[in-house]
């Protein structure tokens, strides 16, 4: 577990700090694999496989394609404006301490540890009580993908002749 946590943390730092965008995308893959490992450790094996299939398989491929399609003009990314890093780091640190204290208080007052949720329970919940959100999410997915194709396929007027 400590290995997975260290993998996730180091990968996250790389994602937000590496100047080379391709390496940042690859370290995002590292983070996603680490989170999948944490899912397995916490007893959510189905979500771990979904995470690997959708995130690492589909989303990361899309991101790498976008990096390669837009990398022609930019080269190595220019450093951010100088005054912006420390305020951003302060905001992120304040956010982390806020979240950490809030969740620690909730964990302390939590009931005794429960059994992990089985895949059968998850499937039954998805087809009974959560059926409407499940259908809505598939509709949203179709609409978003069709919209993405429509947005990306429109050529500027001078090229579309």
């Amino acid at each position: 577990m400590w290995l997975m946590a260290a993998l996730v943390l180091v990968g996250s730092v790389w994602v937000v700090t590496l100047r080379n965008l391709f390496r940042a995308a690859l370290s995002l893959g590292l983070v996603l694999l680490g989170v999948a490992g944490l899912f397995i450790l916490v007893g959510a094996e189905f979500l771990a496989f979904v995470q690997i299939l959708i995130y690492v398989g589909a989303i990361l491929t899309l991101v790498v394609f976008a990096v390669m399609l837009t990398a022609k003009v930019q080269g190595p990314e220019a450093p951010p404006p100088r005054g912006q890093q420390w305020p951003a780091a302060a905001v992120a640190g304040a956010l982390f301490s806020l979240f950490a204290t809030a969740t620690q208080w909730i964990v302390r007052s939590a009931p005794a540890p429960q059994d992990p949720v089985s895949l059968q329970q998850l499937g039954q919940a998805l087809t009974t009580t959560l059926l409407l959100p499940f259908e809505v999410i598939s509709l949203v997915l179709v609409a978003a993908l069709v919209g993405a194709v429509a947005v990306a396929a429109i050529l500027p007027p001078e090229e579309s002749s």
Binding site: V15, V16, I59, Q85, Q104, L141, A148, A152
Partner: protein, 100 residues
């Protein structure tokens, strides 16, 4: 209990690092990567709290978060490609198409 606590800290750190990335990155694709970090941190948080309270809905909502992240990244990358084609840049602070 200890392991779940550590995972909560990891997800908090992921979310904070994602916010840092959104605030400091200039490239639009990199901002999208940071948003993925934030969404994944939210999913990890859902799963850990679902394990803590023994709730089925937590895993289902993490599934929905993953599906919504797929939608978001598809639409975002399509917008970035269209932007790159019209404005010839993907740096978020150099896009001034709406400026008169």
């Amino acid at each position: 209990m200890n392991g779940l606590q550590v995972m909560l800290w990891v997800s908090c750190a992921m979310c904070a690092l994602g916010v840092y990335g959104v605030l400091t990155r200039r490239n639009a694709v990199a901002i999208l990567l940071s948003i993925e970090l934030i969404l994944n941190a939210a999913g990890l948080n859902f799963v850990v709290f679902g394990r803590l309270y023994g709730q089925v809905q937590a895993q289902a909502f993490t599934l929905f978060i993953i599906a919504l992240a797929a939608c978001e990244v598809a639409v975002g990358l399509a917008i970035i490609l269209a932007l790159y084609r019209t404005a010839k840049t993907v740096l978020a602070d150099q896009v001034n198409l709406l400026k008169g």
